[in-house]
């Protein structure tokens, strides 16, 4: 009985002593935090996506307030509004940010892209990519297990019925989290308002690409010849669109109509 009382008394006493010491130390050694940091943190979108290059929104808020060299426009999901607010709070100059959006550069569904083998492993793109570069013959195509969908903190991606991710342009902030996790670099960031884009990620020559997928870019260069503004150029067997020239000068999209496999598409 006496032991029980001792246990109670000693543990309570020790707890109280440690508690008071900690409480006192917390007051005594309290660190003054610049209140501006919290104000800036409140303005940020709290996606914790890390697109700014810092380890989360709070880290960026701290850096932008304390370090004069950190520009206020690094928050990509926040777009111009947040950049202006942060600039106002910190007294820095806001420069325009070019908004971007995620684009899935592959149309190879199970019906169009041929399979090399039947994959029955973990339903994850990284895992599938480890087995001979994935179950498709095309080694640059979308693997369709939605690793990008899981990576999106803004719920802007969903996996469509044809096992290709669909970007919700209203929700997509262009933070690039999906771009980073895709083992095949199928998801790319393109400027918001881009006119046309190549929905194929192959780097193979036309004949090989055509064998592996019916909607692949077959390097026919028709789009390059069709474009009157020279916005498309061939590079490594595939056309590269210069989005700036394309969206500023052209509104006909002749290349889209000419493409035999519909690999170049118009973006609404």
């Amino acid at each position: 009985m006496l032991t029980a009382v001792y246990v109670f008394v000693v543990l309570t006493a020790l707890g109280l002593v440690f508690g008071f010491i900690l409480a006192y130390a917390n007051k005594k050694f309290a660190l003054e935090v610049n209140p501006l940091i919290h104000l800036v943190d409140d303005v940020l979108p709290k996606g914790q996506c890390g697109a700014c290059g810092f380890a989360g929104c709070m880290a960026y808020a701290e850096a932008v307030v304390l370090d004069a060299n950190v520009p206020p426009n690094l928050c990509i999901p926040g777009k111009a509004d947040v950049a202006n607010l942060v600039a106002e709070l910190t007294g820095k100059k806001a420069e325009a940010t070019a908004p971007k959006i995620a684009f899935v550069s592959c149309a190879g569904s199970p019906t169009t892209a041929r399979a090399a083998y039947n994959y029955q492993g973990i339903p994850d793109c990284d895992a599938a990519a480890l087995l001979m570069g994935g179950p498709k013959i095309c080694k640059n195509g979308c693997l369709g297990f939605g690793t990008c969908v899981k990576a999106c903190v803004f719920n802007a991606l969903e996996l469509g019925e044809n096992h290709l991710p669909i970007v919700n342009s209203r929700k997509c902030t262009g933070c690039g989290a999906c771009e980073k996790v895709c083992p095949k670099n199928v998801i790319k960031l393109i400027p918001l308002g881009a006119h046309v884009a190549l929905r194929c990620n192959t780097r193979e020559k036309g004949a090989i690409a055509k064998k592996s997928c019916s909607v692949a870019c077959i390097s026919c260069t028709l789009c390059v010849r069709e474009c009157p503004y020279g916005a498309i150029k061939m590079e490594n067997n595939v056309p590269i669109v210069n989005y700036k020239i394309c969206s500023e000068q052209c509104n006909e999209a002749k290349c889209v109509a000419k493409c035999p496999t519909k690999a170049i598409i118009q973006i609404k």
Partner: protein, 193 residues
């Protein structure tokens, strides 16, 4: 004097915390990717362990033994170590910002770590004197630092070697730790315990 020396060498090599007793493995694998980080971690563990051993010795001999409450040792030491690390963190944060930048993140990891808890427990179990407790704590801390620094140097080299994909990362680290532990087994006959 030789008693202290034997205790010290025993704690560093023979009873190495990581490689013989298999304690503190979480930080051992978590922080050993980078040599600088592991040096910082080793130093942080050594100093925290020494200071908490002194405190634990005082509490054990002046509170727990007189009240015959030695069966509460583990509970009390958990409380003691956790709150002591918290206190240390506050003091360092305020007075030594440079050190806090180096140690801050490790201190939080140490707060609930088995290795920091184990040393006071071993001290009290063997009823070491205050001086012996300190020697044991410093030796154990340096043993941990030695193990984690060895591991970090090996893992930095490992980054340039061609590891099979399925073993890459933690897998090969565990294999490596096993080999290190095997080689430390060679010390076991050095000091008759």
């Amino acid at each position: 004097m030789s008693e202290y020396f034997l205790l010290f060498m025993g704690a560093v090599l023979v009873n190495n915390f990581v490689l013989t007793r298999f304690l503190g493995l979480c930080i051992f694998f978590g922080v050993s990717k980078n040599l600088n980080a592991s040096i910082g971690m080793g130093m942080a563990v050594t100093s925290v362990m020494t200071m908490s051993s002194i405190l634990a010795w005082l509490v054990y001999n002046y509170v727990l033994v007189p009240f015959k409450l030695t069966f509460l040792t583990t509970v009390v030491f958990v409380l003691l170590v956790a709150s002591f690390v918290q206190l240390l963190e506050m003091i360092i944060k305020r007075h030594m910002p440079a050190l806090y930048k180096m140690w801050g993140i490790y201190l939080v990891l140490i707060a609930t770590n088995c290795i920091v808890l184990a040393v006071p427990l071993i001290n009290s179990e063997n009823s070491y004197s205050l001086l012996m407790s300190i020697v044991n704590a410093i030796g154990s801390g340096l043993g941990f630092a030695l193990a984690i620094i060895l591991m970090a140097s090996l893992r930095e080299k490992l980054q340039y070697s061609d590891v099979p994909k399925s073993l890459d990362g933690l897998g090969i680290a565990f294999v490596l730790a096993g080999l290190l532990a095997l080689s430390f087994l060679g010390f076991s006959g050095m000091i008759p315990l």
